[in-house]
Assembly symmetry: C2
Homo-oligomer: 428 residues x 2
């Protein structure tokens, strides 16, 4: 059987899962791919470090160019993460005629487009299933299985860390800081949690996914990203009373007139929503296509073996193409140039929680300001607090964010209002 040589950059969490799968399932993979996938070389920072997977030390090098420039390497798996130096390594590998497999969401979201174009121009494969939602095969679904559809909408939970934190907050009534500390102790959150907590990880993923689904490049810096630091135990409790769970959602919609909205934000989801009960570190993505209707994909969104499953799945696809002489079979699919809707123009329902002093006056004056700004109201719940203040929770109809912001700017200056405690989007 033909041998196809694999070079690997990085032997961290994803790299070691990838190598382990290639070792343990070698026979099955060879049968399915029609070729034996053989690891030729692995570049690591420190060749002496103990690894989660046992590897022949002769395969290791601390010089990435020994992998990138090895003429025998057919498939380069870039598993080091980050833009720099990963981007340059990958570009150099493409110029050397390698097919690329990557799980690097940040690189792909920030500067993946030119890499895919370069690979396409060289008739080489460039696959990135592991970069979005770990083991869930969502990119292949969008690019291949569901290719008959105009995809109208994607809403997903694509970050396990924040979903774990929000789930814990929901189940235990705990506050954000204490659950974050616990998640860090358990290894579910990084020591520097910014990328997850502030929504950047999800921002990268939805930018990639929306680009593929809408056939139009979504510049990552045009994706409004809001994390979960501002979600309080009180918001979660109030939302629950109203029949909602709060989740960090990654949303992409197109309006059929060439406009796209792509964003990351906490959102209230009704309990009947397919994502409302996706809990813990799990990921799930709901996708609506004009032909297929609504489909959902659910599974582990991160981790060594799940992400390795995606990476090796991509390698098998490349191997099949190498065997058939059909690499470059599916290249970059950003054929169109669609317009990004500014976040201020994005319409959803909103939840608004206000603390007010003088109840009758507050209700009337707030309602007046909402009316002045074309913010129409679906429901109001008012609760008297122990101190005599009132907590007034508003759920609006679908309105533009700009209108809500304008209204809230005035509302927080009203004499009867102590504070606009929070406002969060509501999805249906």
């Amino acid at each position: 059987m033909r041998e196809i040589k694999v070079g690997v950059l990085g032997l961290g969490v994803v790299g070691s899962g990838t190598v382990r799968i290639l070792q343990e399932n070698a026979e099955e993979i060879a049968q399915r791919a029609g070729a034996r996938l053989v690891i030729k070389k692995i570049a690591v920072r420190d060749v002496t470090k103990t690894r989660a997977v046992s590897v022949d030390p002769a395969l290791l090098t601390d010089n990435p160019c020994e992998v990138i420039d090895d003429p025998e390497v057919d498939i380069l798996a870039e598993l080091i993460g980050g833009v720099d130096p990963a981007h340059d390594y990958v570009l150099r590998a493409i110029r050397n005629g390698k097919n690329i497999v990557t799980a690097n969401k940040e690189m792909m979201a920030k500067s993946g487009h030119d890499l895919m174009e370069a690979a396409g121009a060289a008739n080489r494969d460039f696959f990135l299933e592991g970069s979005v939602a770990g083991g869930i095969p969502i990119l292949t679904a969008v690019k291949e299985s569901l290719a008959a559809n105009r995809i109208r909408e994607i809403i997903g939970i694509v970050n396990g860390t924040t979903n774990y934190i929000l789930t814990k907050m929901t189940e235990e009534g705990a506050n954000f800081a204490s659950v974050l500390a616990e998640a860090q102790a358990k290894g579910y959150a990084e020591a520097d949690p910014t990328s997850d907590i502030d929504g950047f990880d999800a921002q990268y993923k939805i930018a990639i996914l929306a680009s593929m689904a809408f056939n139009s490049l979504v510049p990552v810096d045009s994706v409004a990203a809001q994390g979960i630091r501002g979600v309080t135990a009180r918001d979660i409790a109030v939302a629950k009373d109203l029949g909602y769970h709060i989740k960090l959602t990654a949303v992409a919609r197109q309006d059929g007139m060439g406009g796209m909205q792509v964003r990351v934000n906490p959102a209230l989801l009704p309990l009947s929503h397919p994502l409302a009960n996706v809990n813990g570190v799990m990921n799930a993505i709901v996708l609506r296509g004009d032909a297929v209707g609504e489909v959902m994909f659910y599974g582990p969104g991160a981790g060594s073996l799940p992400t390795g499953s995606a990476v090796v799945g991509d390698m098998i696809a490349v191997a099949r193409n190498i065997v058939m002489g059909s690499t470059g079979r599916i290249g970059c699919t950003c054929f169109e140039k669609k317009r990004m809707l500014p976040i201020a123009d994005v319409e959803t329902k909103f939840y608004v929680r206000v603390l007010a002093a003088d109840r009758p006056k507050a209700l009337a004056s707030i309602a007046g300001v909402f009316g002045d700004n074309d913010v129409s109201i679906e429901s109001i719940v008012q609760r008297v607090q122990p101190d005599g203040d009132a907590e007034i929770v508003w759920v609006t109809h679908k309105i533009r964010e700009a209108n809500l912001r304008a209204a809230l700017e005035t509302i927080q200056t009203l004499p009867a209002v102590r504070a606009v405690s929070n406002w969060i989007r509501v999805e249906e």
Copy 2:
């Protein structure tokens, strides 16, 4: 742009959805496929009949050979269903050098293997995504995205009609016959509902899916199939009290020693099971792989456009291969010959409901017979009926079906026992 000619057999539910998608999304499909998919000819039984989709009458013929033998047709979509004459049409088309796309589960389960082998030998594509779970891209996931995995287990709800009926029975406490009649009136069940109700439809689907997932042909007649006629409103109510929903499940497991169990049966699923709350006509499939862990796919398992989405998705894959000269890139994957476990040897937990007259004696004597047959018991719930009889519900530990059957044969002859009312598998 290159044109690829499509021939279609059948313009029923799936055929009209397929044609409609090819018409309405022609531009997107052309861009993604790298070629224009043009319908050359459609064979129908009656060319004068009014159709759900508007088609140029010049495309229609009542002679299937005009499609199969047309030298310009590159892709033949077989959408007539059933084994005969579909199988012979498809074989003839392969011999004519056509690539095949089909949504015909019965043909694929009963005699698909030789068709796939013939297509492979001719280096032609043979895709069948629409044959299992409608619009849910499960076959492509198993054959491609998850190809790095040893798939250990599949459990799915793959028949919408029975899921609709069981959901209604669960929600309304209604009995099977009345809900079936209502489903027939609404068009969710056929006038002759046997294929759905008695589990044959699900049997075809799980035979196909397991063959691909386990890389070993699963002969459809070796798949034990039990439908839902025997599930009563009482069973559903009792199961609910115990924390379970009853679903018609299609299950495939391999034991790692070359043994496979593949079966269709009603099962009690704990409410925390990902399939327990898949309701109405929706389908869902949970898949466990050694690398990816547990993933779930959820969506519409039937219908004109959802199944058309799968069929056209397959056409796009074929078109990409035609453009690259790589048809036959992924052929039949039944490389191995694994052993089917007889249903009598399949171990699960079981729910057993017994009506007994003399309670203290009944409990002791039934327990004795279970003990004699190595049927160990996890829980017992006993309820006194208005007439003084007792309903005793047993949930066993994991045991072989053969042991349970042997025990129940003796139990139903016990003087204290009025009837063994039902027994149903329990999944965890």
